[in-house]
Symmetry: C2
Subunit: 238 residues, 2 copies
């Protein structure tokens, strides 16, 4: 399983993914699920992936192949973020269909979804969720976040604290606490985590940080949150 979450805020895009991949509970590995594509000052794009590793890896490989081919249209040359997400959706859908064809009856596991976030010079920051079939939805002011994978445990905190005016610092707290709830409740989501921030109008990756299992900041944040929840719980009257 996987948990990836992206926020679209006035100040920028904040993205967090875990890295646990499993083929059954007895075959667990660490794979990066966050990929960035940057042309400094021109465009910054981040893609997070959930679902079949064979599908997501092949999709990313094809997107990268297009980037390195000077004659091919790619997510680094697309005119708008909308064209970028259409390109990702088309590639994902083609790979998914191809792998499903190879898998036959087991085709259900050839599915994957992605979050595509970024900004190109002259455009606004945008955040999309691409479905396995290649269609997509976009985050808006009303619902300024998107999630893929094991999204339910970490949704209540987002519903309560995230809005377009949330600061980047609070946003990082929110996605980390959302991940913390997910880690506690679903073993198949696991550390390390990848945190990425793309500040508005900078067209660069403002922050990219891997949070390892021994990360002190994350550990004490997680502990403080547990304590805050227990204190809050105690304070409530029935």
């Amino acid at each position: 399983m996987t948990y990836c979450v992206g926020l679209l805020l006035d100040d920028g895009l904040v993205l967090l993914s875990d890295t646990r991949t499993n083929a059954g509970v007895d075959n667990i590995s660490t794979y990066r699920k966050m990929f960035t594509f940057v042309d400094p000052g021109e465009r910054a794009i981040a893609i997070m992936t959930a679902g079949s590793l064979s599908v997501t890896q092949t999709t990313l490989a094809k997107l990268e192949e297009a980037i390195s081919d000077p004659d091919a249209p790619s997510i680094m040359t697309a005119g708008t973020m909308l064209e970028v997400v259409e390109m990702v959706g088309r590639t994902l859908s083609e790979v998914s269909t191809h792998v499903a064809g190879q898998m036959g009856a087991k085709a259900a596991s050839a599915r994957a979804s992605m979050i595509v976030a970024g900004q190109r010079k002259g455009g606004a920051p945008r955040l999309f969720l691409v479905y396995p079939e290649g269609n997509f939805i976009e985050a808006t002011d009303d619902t300024p976040y998107l999630q893929i994978g094991e999204h339910k445990y970490g949704k209540p905190i987002l519903d309560r604290v995230v809005e377009p005016g949330t600061t980047l610092t609070d946003a990082k707290k929110a996605v980390l606490l959302s991940m913390d709830s997910t880690l506690r409740s679903n073993l198949s989501v696991g550390l390390p985590l990848d945190l990425c921030v793309i500040e508005t109008d900078k067209m660069m990756i403002s922050e990219m940080r891997r949070i390892e299992a021994d990360d002190q900041v994350f550990a004490s944040m997680s502990q403080a949150w547990s304590q805050a929840l227990r204190d809050g719980f105690r304070g409530i009257e029935i």
Copy 2:
């Protein structure tokens, strides 16, 4: 959809269910999902249901039919809570199989699960989750709660605050806040709620309360919890 949760504590059993039933999002009704069976001083049993309404209603009707037949074995005459849950599981499985046969290809929606809780004189309080196939699991000291239906949103709070020594008052708070998180994140779970408490060794329903949409206690608890979460969030350093 549905959310039902049961806690097995030293002081007793605490159960909470919602009442929203839907056949598609445009056909929503209120149906009780909590059913109690009491022989005061001898036994007190509560059953909560999730899944196909036709399956759960028929299962309950059959259990009740057996109770009113003086010659038939029933959950009111079964020697132990284990026999009670076996009887519920057998009935659920039979009804489910029968309805699935009628539905043919749509058999997937002829599924239901139940939480069975109770105590009979001479035995300990016990809490079971019955699967659609009739098999079941039991709550233990390590995991003193069971959930059916839309269980994910409300799990983090239970994981953090519920243990066998939790008081009944705190337990009521915990299940109500667990439900509150679920109500916020899933529209197909809805008020009113049914709250039931079976105190240890009383062999009676100690409390049975319907919480309507205009319940002031629940509303202010829900508000206080939101505030506590936001305050806790603000207090955390990153």
